[in-house]
Amino acid sequence: MTNLSMTVKKNIPYIAISVLILALLAAVPFFSKPYTVVLLKNILMFAALTLSWALFSGPTGYISLATAAFYGVGIYTAAYLGKVLPLPVMVLCGGLASFLLALIIGAITLRLRGIYFAIFTLSSVELIKQVLHWFEITVLGTRGRPVVKISNTTVYYVVLLIVVLLMVTTYFLKRSRYGLAMSSIGSCEDAAAHIGINVTWVKVLTFALSSFFIGLTGATTATGLIYIDSHIAFDLNYSFFPTLMAIFGGIGNVFGPVIGAAVFSYLREILITRFPYAYMIIFGAVMILTILYLPNGIIGLVQTIKDKVLGGKDATASSRKVN
């Protein structure tokens, strides 16, 4: 794999910066206040959800709004298995449960395109939520469950690990043969299918892989919730936020979703405390402005500035007609 080592070489500055940031993040619990750890944990959680979302929806162009379903499955796994299994095994179970659910949802919904896929994935969250609610009330005769509490610092490290895993997976997947197949689906699915790519299989498998990471994240962060029920676990905000964060940050490269999640969740934290009633309005306005003026997100803006400063050839190449 010579071209792999070449891409790694070319990206040494990025890798160096990433390792530095990672070291800083790993050191945070040793010298900062508990509040900072909780804040960063939340940011990392959203980064994990956004990266997972972008892993599938970025290259394929299928807008999934099922994130909350897989996140909720992770949370329920923690609620049911948290007492009986050690943390790493329980978290893996959450990932696998989401993976399996995604295979099913994917096989049913991925034949739909565009807005129909988005709406069906959104409905799947509501369906699972209501079925679970009904099942708990009528069959189990309970509502909700307590979740075993695990220290914030431990959760922080596990979520950090998930984010790193996601970034590495995204990076290498994008440069692999499989990644090319994924982006060809986003580019022109009919053409992809007719040159030998099993588009159904690629879509379902990528959807499941993305959901695996969402499940891991749900199972990990659920341990901070104390009590959960179907309405807490399958909150539709967990479908919308990662999508918005990814669009806000840009899905052009692996840093976009992370930056989007960081800025967005920090903003949310501040707005909730300062303007508890108006925060969703401000949020909506920021989103509309982003979509109107930064169609490629923050990362897209950075790229444009970089091209302008360097007098980049890339910026003009795509607008030129070539014979």
Partner: protein, 246 residues
């Protein structure tokens, strides 16, 4: 033996029968022409053979194997590939990447170096080498069509279905496209081409099939077709009208 045999192939869209009991056979190494007025069902026939849609009835035998109703990716890997009437390329990818996609995925178990080497060879063959690094979406129509053909060739097909390759090209470009089609046949690839450009089809094909309202009306040599009364009425007549009108 015949490379492709189609028997009683039928496809309905709601109440409309787009392809109705069509039989056809294609010899290995030939170029078969497929003509007919707008809406005759030509593209639908390609969609059935290449797996875009499953037929409602009938058989498709390729290389002695039944392929009717298979997904397009399987049919491609069996050696039957098509191009689209409205160009379907990967616009953000470069010309080279477009062709590489064909060689990477069109047949099983190819290594990167093998696939890149093959893509380069096809770019050379189709005269696209000098455009390798240009995003395919920024090319002119004639070159985008060429990219689509190149990507199809990169899958190493035995049979290629060309849907109106010459439509929208100027006379010089049509001549170049005709030359390309002839060279593809010389590589041992069997071709079915749908074409409205009569000059091209009459010159390249030894045998032509005429579709009308989803049915096969007649089959014959270019001379037979161009002198057939029914064909003149339904097809060539219509073209003359169009020319007179424009």
């Amino acid at each position: 033996m015949q490379l492709l045999q189609v028997e009683k192939l039928t496809k309905h869209f709601g109440g409309l029968t787009a392809v109705s009991g069509v039989d056809l056979e294609v010899e290995r190494g030939e170029i078969l022409g497929l003509i007919g007025p707008n809406g005759a069902g030509k593209t639908t026939l390609f969609n059935l053979i290449s797996g875009t849609f499953a037929p409602n009835a009938g058989k498709i035998i390729f290389n002695g194997e039944s392929i009717g109703g298979l997904k397009p990716n399987y049919i491609c890997r069996k050696g039957l590939v098509r191009t689209f009437q409205t160009v379907k390329i990967f616009p953000e990818m470069t010309v080279f990447q477009n062709v590489l996609m064909g060689s990477l995925f069109g047949s099983e178990g190819k290594s990167w170096p093998e696939a890149t080497g093959q893509a380069r060879e096809i770019l050379d063959f189709t005269g696209l080498s000098h455009l390798s690094d240009v995003p395919a979406g920024s090319l002119t129509l004639v070159n985008q069509k060429r990219v689509e053909v190149a990507r199809a060739l990169a899958t190493r097909p035995q049979m290629l279905l060309l849907d109106e390759l010459m439509a929208g090209l100027n006379p010089a470009e049509v001549a170049e496209a005709m030359e390309l089609v002839t060279r593809i046949r010389e590589r041992g690839i069997t071709i079915i081409m749908i074409e409205h450009v009569m000059k091209a089809i009459m010159n390249i094909c030894k045998r032509i099939i005429v579709l009308h309202h989803g049915k096969k009306i007649i089959e014959g040599t270019p001379e037979e077709i161009s002198t057939n009364k029914t064909v003149i009425e339904i097809y060539l007549g219509e073209e003359e009208q169009a020319h007179a009108g424009s």
